[in-house]
């Protein structure tokens, strides 16, 4: 029973991190039809910048906010400089550029900060909370993780659903040509989509770094989990990303907890396989053909 509760709780915390990465993938994919393979590497890079800020004595919260802002600007810059010239060409070109960016960023981070793993501070205590006399595998930091991701997803959903900007973003994502005929400056919205996605990625990076071995490659595996979560959620919906993240987190936690932690990545891929066979459009996707 105690194992079950612990596995369940750590699955939820894990799942929220996957959801944040999935959200980044979804924001870019629904706007531009591109899967950003550099999503994890960009988050890694901004988290290393946060690490440098912290090393220079900047407080945790100022560094936290600065990192999200850096991620936002970084994402926008990548769209403007690397992705924009590829517009109108095969989506494969853009996908290959993101893979190139992944390799460049990991190499660059390795040469600046070194390839060894190191510790990264957490915003709150990582000690398990005490319930009565027993401690569960769920810390104050995990509470923060869950809260931060839920707030992020809620903010994105609210943006899309209730604001004119969100309406423009949805129109630009679903029908760019029609949106342009209505005066929507779709190019700017693509930039904004990338910026938001990379800010979400930066959040994920800051949440993952304390609980994994922080090195230039620490996000690689998480990108795969995040991808599984995004596909599970249908690749178009922020709520889908959240649910997909939760399902992926729980599945990997249960497989890890009961069958051995080295099976976790395989569990995620098997889950992906099952979903793609049973419901190729994902849990929240519609039956409309998608450009992936």
């Amino acid at each position: 029973m105690r194992l079950f509760v612990n596995v369940l709780l750590s699955g939820v915390a894990q799942g929220m991190v996957f959801a944040a990465i999935a959200l980044g993938l979804v924001l870019i994919s629904r706007a531009t039809g591109v899967i950003n393979f550099a999503q994890g590497a960009m988050a890694m890079f901004t988290t290393f910048l946060a690490y440098t800020l912290l090393e220079h004595g900047i407080g945790y919260w100022p560094a936290f906010v600065a990192t999200l802002a850096i991620g936002f600007v970084f994402g926008g810059l990548v769209e403007r400089t690397l992705m924009r010239p590829l517009q109108g060409k095969s989506p494969l070109n853009a996908v290959i550029v993101t893979i190139g960016l992944l390799v460049v960023l990991e190499g660059l981070a390795g040469s600046i900060w070194g390839n060894t793993s190191r510790g990264f501070p957490a915003a709150f205590s990582q000690q398990g909370l005490a319930i009565g006399t027993t401690r569960v595998a769920f810390s104050t930091f995990d509470v923060f993780t869950v809260g931060a991701v839920v707030v992020l997803v809620a903010a994105i959903v609210a943006l899309f659903r209730w604001t004119n900007l969100g309406l423009r973003m949805r129109a630009g994502a679903f029908a760019p040509e029609v949106a342009r005929l209505l005066g929507v400056r779709v190019g700017r919205l693509f930039t904004l989509g990338w910026a938001l996605a990379c800010a979400a990625g930066s959040l994920a990076g800051l949440l993952v770094a304390p609980v994994s071995s922080f090195s230039p490659y620490y996000m690689d595996l998480y990108l795969i989990y995040g991808f599984v979560a995004a596909v599970l959620g249908g690749l178009v919906s922020p709520v889908g990303a959240l649910v997909g993240g939760l399902v992926t987190g729980l599945a990997t936690a249960f497989v890890g907890g009961y069958l051995g932690s080295n099976l976790e990545p395989m569990a995620a891929l098997v889950l992906l396989l099952i979903v793609l066979m049973a419901r190729p459009q994902g849990l929240f996707g519609t039956a409309i053909a998608r450009r992936v």
């Binding site: 029609v178 342009r180 005929l181 005066g183």
Partner: protein, 235 residues
């Protein structure tokens, strides 16, 4: 006033438009007729900036259109109503209309503008919270026209608005466009394959054949000339 002069468009080896020139006055309906492949849709897509060209000019109230982005042209008040699938399936009827108001209608007048358009198209009002994906073909066509009208356009570019509409709805739609142009003084370029209904509402007719203007005249002259009708319009 829209003035098109010597407009040519090439898709690779295919010459879609060859030196097209015509004028569309404010407050009247100018219909552009021609068989499938005559270049009608290309003409509209070029005017709204979706198709790029370097040959020829097009100006609206003296302001050049060629070389501008579609979104800039839309913000000038040129509303292109694309043929057929111009609705966004994932958005509701009301969201389409809200989207239509964002570029040119002041914030405080948006809701009124939307309600006014519902008055013109009652079937849309009863479906305001439905997703466009659930609408019938006729309702979708109504929606794209309503979305253009709500944007307070100065010029309408209508691509086959009667496509897929029941004859009675076509007649209503044409009457609405007719009313709007004469009352508000906005111009309309009406591209149609259904020449008979277009000629009945238009004030001026331009006939395209293989990308060239072969005739520009008053609609009743075209209707009266049986040879012309048989040759270019097929009725």
């Amino acid at each position: 006033m829209l003035q098109v002069d010597g407009l040519s468009v090439r898709y690779g080896p295919v010459q879609a438009l060859r030196g097209v020139s015509f004028t569309a006055e404010d407050g009247v309906i100018t219909t552009v007729l021609g068989a499938n492949g005559a270049g009608k849709t290309t003409l509209l897509r070029t005017l709204s900036g979706l198709v790029r060209t370097h040959e020829g000019t097009a100006t609206f109230d003296g302001e050049p259109l060629i070389g501008k982005d579609p979104e800039t042209i839309a913000r000038m008040g040129i509303a292109h109503v694309p043929e057929g699938r111009g609705v966004i399936a994932e958005l509701t009827v009301d969201e389409h209309l809200r989207l239509g108001t964002l570029s040119r209608v002041p914030r405080s007048e948006r809701r009124t503008a939307i309600e006014d358009v519902y008055g013109l198209f009652p079937p849309l009002e009863s479906r305001r919270h439905r997703h466009a994906a659930t609408l019938s073909g006729g309702e979708r066509q109504m929606l794209v026209i309503a979305r253009a009208l709500v944007s307070r356009p100065r010029l309408l570019l209508l691509d086959e608005p009667s496509l897929g509409l029941a004859p009675i709805v076509t007649a209503q739609t044409m009457a609405t466009i007719r009313q709007l142009t004469s009352r508000e003084g906005i111009g309309a370029v009406l591209v149609e394959q259904n020449a008979r209904s277009a000629l009945s509402v238009a004030d001026w007719a331009v006939v395209l054949n293989l990308g060239q203007v072969v005739l520009a005249d008053r609609p009743e002259r075209l209707t009266a000339d049986a040879d012309l009708r048989h040759h270019y319009l097929g009725f």
